[in-house]
Amino acid sequence: MTRRKAAFAITCLLLTAALCLLVARSVHLPGGLGEPQYIRELASRTGALNLVASIYLDGRLYDTIFELIVFSVAVLGVRFYLSERRPSHRPAPIPESHVVRASAEALFPFLLLLGIYLAAYGHLSPGGGFAGGTVAASGLMLCSIAIGADAVARRIHRPSLERLEWALPLTIISLAIVPVLLGRPPLAALFPPRGGGGIFSSGSILLYNLLIGIKVFIGSWVVVHGFIEHRGEI
């Protein structure tokens, strides 16, 4: 039995090493390939300063929408697969601490604002809807640690939360389809870019960033709340 295990481990080791060496051996990219040609077009077409956001929410919006579907399906899935399992035991309560509570109260508005800023300025500086939504949700998580998840959950209107879970992806998909009705290619930008580097400079990227931010804020909170209710089950 142990010999079989050792043989198994050695085979794994050899095959993994072979894979890594083969990949490493065949990839020799010269550094300094220079600037890709599409960059000039990118900047002028979307009006966004952040080129990554231009690609993520305009050029490759189609990928992003599928990614958002993956995220939404997963969030709904976490709720669905946890919902019919009442916690099999009551986990020990998180110990109360005044320090944690005070710092959570101080940090929560700050994190929320930071999240909104990251989402709203995603086309001008690094950040974007996903990072912003997560940062804002982390403020909520901090509160659940400080004053208890149930207390936080009680203050959130559950039906409207559940409605938003499907309404936001529906809105985003509809926004992607709308250009067809206007006679343009699907998933084209909704508004023309204004340029100039202001907050409304980049057509629809701001809108998408905000919608994704809210979606991610809710989604990651739902996931984390589910895990808090079922904490310590593994």
Binding site: A9, C12, L13, T16, A17, L19, C20, V23, A24, V27, L29, G31, G32, L33, G34, E35, P36, I39, L42, A43, L49, N50, L51, V52, A53, S54, I55, Y56, G59, R60, D63, T64, F66, E67, V70, F71, V73, A74, V75, G77, V78, Y81, L82, R85, S88, L124, S125, P126, G128, F130, V223, G226, F227, H230, E233, I234
Partner: protein, 122 residues
């Protein structure tokens, strides 16, 4: 000439470690961590593959008309990170369901118990 590792080398090393952990550790949590490592390694690989040392970050305006780093791999990597998170959350929920049923996270023990159940049905 002295050798200095690039991001690609680091990514491939991480990939190897991740695969070994996925294959050899029996605990499901560690398997998932190994999978996370594999996913991270592909992300590092993508970010490194067109890396140019003296390029500027892909946010305009670019200082002194230098070249800009390729934003495309960076944009697609964002999708990959989110997808990996989504899948991990569901995998953890499934591990919870398995633990509730079999009281263990040892993959080989779960496998044996599942096989025994199937045998029992026949």
């Amino acid at each position: 000439m002295s050798y200095s590792p690039s991001g690609i080398d680091a990514a491939i090393a991480l990939l190897g470690i991740g695969i070994l952990v996925l294959a050899l550790r029996r605990d499901l949590i560690l398997k998932l961590l190994g999978l996370g490592l594999i996913n991270s390694s592909t992300i590092l690989f993508l970010v490194s593959i067109r890396f140019t040392p003296d390029a500027a970050i892909p946010i305009l305006p670019v200082r002194d008309a230098g070249i800009v780093a390729d934003p495309l791999p960076q944009a697609v990597v964002l999708s990959a990170i989110v997808i990996n998170f989504a899948i991990l959350a569901l995998a953890l929920v499934f591990v919870m369901i398995l633990v509730e049923r079999y009281h263990t996270t040892d993959s080989e023990r779960i496998e044996s118990e599942v096989a025994a159940e199937q045998g029992g049905e026949g």
